[in-house]
């Protein structure tokens, strides 16, 4: 089963990368952009038989390594 772990900086944590991207998009002529936030996705192929078990495994990996809970939040979804 494939799962996708999405890791984003917590609300309130400054996102230098998002800020730089927003700025660059502005220079390219994309106007009126609101906040830009940048994060990571990690796609994993886990040994599970159903989506529920796969998501549980993904969450365990996110807690153990993939996200740093001081600055980041994560979400996990099963990919078809």
């Amino acid at each position: 089963m494939k799962v996708r772990v999405t890791v984003m900086l917590k609300e309130g944590v400054l996102d230098p990368q998002g800020k730089a991207i927003g700025h660059a998009l502005g220079t390219l002529g994309f106007a009126e952009l609101g906040e830009v936030r940048c994060g990571k996705v990690i796609d994993l192929d886990v040994p599970a038989n159903d989506a529920g078990a796969a998501v549980t495994q993904g969450e365990a990996m996110a807690r153990a390594l993939l996200a740093n809970d001081v600055i980041e939040d994560f979400s996990v979804e099963a990919l078809s």
Binding site: V13, P16, L65, N68, V70
Partner: protein, 233 residues
């Protein structure tokens, strides 16, 4: 002083650190591979700079889970001295041995340049050769050195005197918004912090690269000579 330097896959400033310790203490430190599950008898453990595991995912994240880190944690809990420089600082925060985290530099670029550090807290083993307010020069070389922590944590660090070094101008002015003297955008211009007991210290710049008059000067040497003094006592 018996010092050990932990080497992770991708660590690359272990030789610089060994040279600095050898030059200041006259004794060569031991190199410790990250897969080891016990530490030899040591006075000081150093986590040096580099790109452990390529700095992939997050700087220091994978190294924080290396087998040796459980031992480093135990060593720190028993009151041992730990110094983390650059990637070593990142690893200490990822291992929760120090609070906060190091984000991508505000300007998004790797920064290799000299900076000036103001000593905010003297009297620690790491800073006893300076007095508070002293300013020294150190090279910095990192992409992820932008220190961040919650406002509460920052206030606590300040209140407990655990902010050890701040980025400053050559004459000691601290200007957090000014990228010429706080180049990576760190919160409150924090460059280095310490644990509650003052024995675990992490900082981003590289004092170990300024200990030899032949290689640019000796501005970083007091950190090491102070440590040697403190740990010999």
């Amino acid at each position: 002083m018996k010092a050990g330097i932990v080497v992770f896959p991708g660590t690359n400033r272990e030789r610089d650190m060994a040279q600095a310790l050898r030059l200041t203490s006259g004794v060569a430190p031991q190199m410790i591979w990250h897969r080891e599950t016990s530490l030899p008898s040591l006075d000081l453990v150093v986590l040096p700079g580099g790109f452990s595991h390529g700095d992939y995912l997050r700087s220091g994240a994978m190294a924080a889970h290396s087998p040796i880190m459980a031992e480093v944690r135990r060593f720190a809990e028993r009151g041992g001295y730990v110094l983390g420089v650059c990637n070593g600082f990142q690893i200490l925060t990822e291992a929760h041995l120090l609070p906060g985290a190091l984000l991508r530099n505000a300007g998004m670029r790797f920064l290799s340049q000299d900076c000036h550090l103001k000593v905010e807290r003297d009297g620690l083993a790491f800073t006893r050769r300076w007095t508070s307010g002293a300013v020294f020069r150190a090279p910095m070389a990192h992409g992820d050195g932008n220190y961040t922590a919650s406002e509460d944590t920052l206030d606590r660090l300040e209140g407990e005197g655990r902010v050890v070094f701040r980025y400053a101008t050559a004459d000691g002015a601290v200007l957090p918004q000014d990228r010429t003297c706080n180049p990576n955008g760190s919160a409150r211009a924090i460059a280095g912090i310490a644990s509650e007991n003052g024995r675990v210290c992490g900082l981003m710049p590289h004092p170990e690269n300024l200990v030899d008059p032949a290689i640019g000067g000796t501005d970083g040497a007091p950190l090491f000579t102070g440590l040697i003094e403190a740990l010999a006592a």
